[in-house]
């Protein structure tokens, strides 16, 4: 009799030892994942819960957040998300989008029972690529799932959703170029009777020596502004925001920059209304 009691006790301990870790860490095998499908300019994203097949500790509450704060909403438009959980008896089973906070959220809660198993696809939403998008790209959306198990355990799962989209519009470059009269006057400066020399010689442009380039297209571009002198003794350089322009100016969409031409060198002869050179604006690529 004594031996049978010991055997029963031993078996009970063994079964408990086998059951306890799986009960406590039942959710450890659960994984969060996403799947994307592109059709035309519509990208459908499905959030999935993997390995929720025959849980020993089921899900009683589920909150899934998709962080869309990094999304350029002028290029990718978010459509209202939907819950894919088939459970009409849940207390709440809804998906919403908060554009101000940039969060797509699924809320699922039961007070009794658990999320039906198996369940894999839990939430879906659509990103629509704007028809004016001229360059494709990739954006990463962090996804977080907070699980409340029937046993009371809480756990968090995380994954990243990578969305790749193609250009929808043919890229074109459109720039606006504005230039002043480029009217320059040379002054010998002030006569110094002590040195018998003119001092402070300079060129003045009367605020006409500028070129402005604005990007109005749907592609970024660059602009390089150069002066080619017709007279060997005169040279010119362009300055942007007070700094010598040595590299092309980058112009993003809608950006505008102004370059000012500064001349140097003393004319070798007296002249009036003479063309000193040519300004060339090179519009390049990004």
């Amino acid at each position: 009799m004594k031996h049978r009691n010991y055997w029963a006790l031993f078996l009970t301990v063994v079964l408990l030892a086998a059951w306890f870790p799986s009960a406590c860490f039942a959710e450890d095998h659960l994984q969060l994942d996403t799947r994307t499908e592109t059709e035309g300019n519509r990208i459908t994203v499905t959030v999935q819960l993997w390995d929720y097949i025959d849980p020993q500790d089921g899900i009683q509450g589920l909150q899934i957040d998709v962080d869309t704060s990094s999304l350029d909403q002028t290029q990718l438009h978010v459509e209202e998300p939907q819950s894919l959980i088939e459970d009409t008896t849940a207390y709440t089973n809804t998906a919403v989008w908060n554009p101000e906070r940039g969060i797509l959220r699924l809320n699922y809660l039961r007070f009794e029972g658990q999320l039906p198993a198996p369940t894999r696809d839990v939430m879906t939403f659509v990103l629509q690529v704007d028809p004016n998008v001229a360059q494709g790209g990739t954006v990463t959306l962090p996804v977080t799932a907070k699980l409340q198990m029937v046993s009371g355990l809480q756990t968090t799962l995380r994954t990243d959703c990578q969305v790749t989209y193609d250009a929808q519009a043919e890229g074109y470059v459109s720039v606006t170029i504005t230039w002043g009269a480029l009217d320059y006057t040379y002054s010998d400066g002030v006569w110094n009777p002590d040195t018998y020399l003119y001092e402070g010689e300079s060129w003045s442009d009367n605020n006409t020596g500028f070129v402005t380039v604005e990007n109005e297209g749907n592609l970024p571009t660059t602009a390089q502004v150069m002066f080619t002198s017709s007279l060997s003794e005169i040279a010119g350089s362009f300055y942007v925001d007070g700094s010598l322009l040595q590299e092309p100016i980058y112009l993003g969409l809608g950006e505008s920059r102004t370059a000012n031409l500064v001349l140097e060198g003393k004319p070798g002869q007296t002249f009036q209304q003479t063309t000193l050179g040519t300004v060339t604006i090179q519009i390049g690529e990004e």
């Binding site: 074109y172 470059v173 459109s174 720039v175 606006t176 170029i177 504005t178 230039w179 002043g180 009269a181 480029l182 009217d183 006409t208 070129v211 109005e216 297209g217 063309t275 050179g277 040519t278 300004v279 060339t280 604006i281 090179q282 519009i283 390049g284 690529e285």
Partner: protein, 176 residues
């Protein structure tokens, strides 16, 4: 009486003469048959209107603000140009929107050679096809070239050329 020594060209001198003559012939042949770069000749006065120009659909023509004595232009273009050697035409897209206050002349330039030069494009006009300059097709063979648009600006009232021009890099595909 000593015999007069006959003066004759030494052998090495004869060889040298032949070599120099051969080099001179080669240089002459190269000079005659090599094609000099076609100069980029920007007209000082605006040429006649471009016959292939067409109105830009939906162009409102509302003018840009222009500084006194200066100019203000808007450009819209595609960076890809295709040249058809059989037709001697260049398929491209370039527009001088109605907002501009300057006339334009468009050149397609490859390695300092002007391949195409349009007539005057008044504001509100665009071109999608231009004829190659005479003999330009002979300089090209099927393939891809890097080139430029050169855009020249002219006062619409006086026809006087502006001191400003624009260069735009292009990819030019040449096909038979």
């Amino acid at each position: 009486m000593e015999k007069e020594k006959k003066k004759s060209i030494p052998l090495w001198g004869a060889v040298l003469l032949v070599v120099v003559a051969a080099i001179a012939v080669c240089v002459a042949v190269w000079a005659v048959f090599s094609q000099p770069a076609r100069p980029v000749l920007a007209p000082d006065q605006a040429p006649a209107q471009e016959p292939a120009a067409e109105s830009i659909p939906g162009d409102s023509g509302e003018k840009l603000e222009s500084p006194e004595g200066g100019g203000s232009v808007s450009l819209t273009y595609s960076r890809d140009v295709t040249i058809d050697l059989s037709d001697e035409t260049a398929m491209l897209y370039f527009a001088n929107p109605g907002r501009s206050n300057q006339d334009m002349v468009l050149q397609v330039v490859i390695r300092d050679n002007v391949i195409v030069q349009s007539g005057t494009l008044a504001p509100g006009n665009q071109v999608q096809s231009l004829t190659l300059l005479q003999d330009a097709a002979d300089m090209l063979s099927p393939g891809s070239y890097e080139g430029n648009f050169t855009v020249l600006y002219y006062d619409p009232d006086t026809g006087e050329k502006a001191m400003v021009n624009t260069e735009i890099p292009l990819t030019i595909t040449v096909q038979e």
